[in-house]
């Protein structure tokens, strides 16, 4: 197994996540918290995020499906999702959450629905990319690969 190549791929994927705006500086904060005592901290938090956010998004989907137009409720859900996105540095998702909330404020249901489709796509893409990233790190081996390489 070519560990050097795997590490390079992981570093390259990580860089592209920042360059393309999927992740922001908050992700560095998570990486900084990872150490020998908590060697899988970043992956744990990210896994927790995707688990909880998927559940929240299912609730939002249901609320939108019912077409009840309870903008307050939608806004509450979306604020919660935004909070989670913020905590892991999921920048694009965070931006889209903000836009969704603006649509709620304007009581623009079509806007909400379009925005939510975008949120679902971004969520799925980020999940795939981060899953690939962590898989590469695992395959690449020792713990020093999981801590932050040069910015």
């Amino acid at each position: 197994m070519d560990y050097v190549n795997l590490r390079r791929q992981a570093a390259s994927l990580r860089k592209s996540l920042f360059d393309q705006g999927y992740l922001d500086e908050q992700f560095y904060q998570l990486e900084d918290l990872q150490d020998d005592a908590s060697p899988n901290f970043v992956e744990e938090v990210v896994t927790l995020f995707f688990r909880d956010s998927a559940r929240l998004m299912a609730n939002i989907d249901q609320a939108l499906d019912k077409c009840v137009k309870d903008f307050n409720k939608l806004d509450v859900y979306m604020q919660q999702l935004k909070g989670s996105c913020t905590s892991i540095g999921a920048s694009r998702l965070k931006t889209e959450c903000t836009f969704f909330r603006e649509c709620c404020r304007d009581e623009n249901i079509e806007g909400c629905m379009r925005s939510f489709q975008k949120i679902k796509r971004e969520h799925s893409v980020l999940r795939q990319k981060l899953e690939s990233y962590f898989q590469l790190l695992r395959q690449a081996g020792p713990i020093e690969c999981a801590t932050r390489p040069s910015k």
Binding site: Q26, Q29, V45, V76, Q80, K82, G83, T86, S87, I88
Partner: protein, 141 residues
Amino acid sequence: MANLTIEDNFPAGIRVLVIDDDRTSLHVVCMMLESCGYKVTKCTSGKEGLEMLRQEGQFDIVLTDVHMPDMDGFQLLEHVGLEMDLPVVMLSVDSSHENVVKGLKHGACDYLIKPVQREELEKIGEHVITWRRANAGIFDD
């Protein structure tokens, strides 16, 4: 009344209760606090958090999210102000001026906007010291 030996042990002696219904945010904030040397207890519900606080003497400071389903941070702040003598720091992704002012006016000693930086959390121990110094006079009749 004030336990000033906390300063000798600072920040390791400081016991923080963190309340946030968002488990991701809670996990990150608690990890940051632990990395600063604080002793951290997590809680995902305002009501549960309040019950824990009512069991006296367990915590030196409370960090609470503002928007929670069962009891929001402002309600918690009000209860803590009426029933206990503890500093409260509010956390929120909502940076609206009116909420920040509301929090501070109702007695929160700080209002932090998410994502919270480790450097901001490092300072919360100072709130404990300041709070105890400020309140020592009131109880020393």
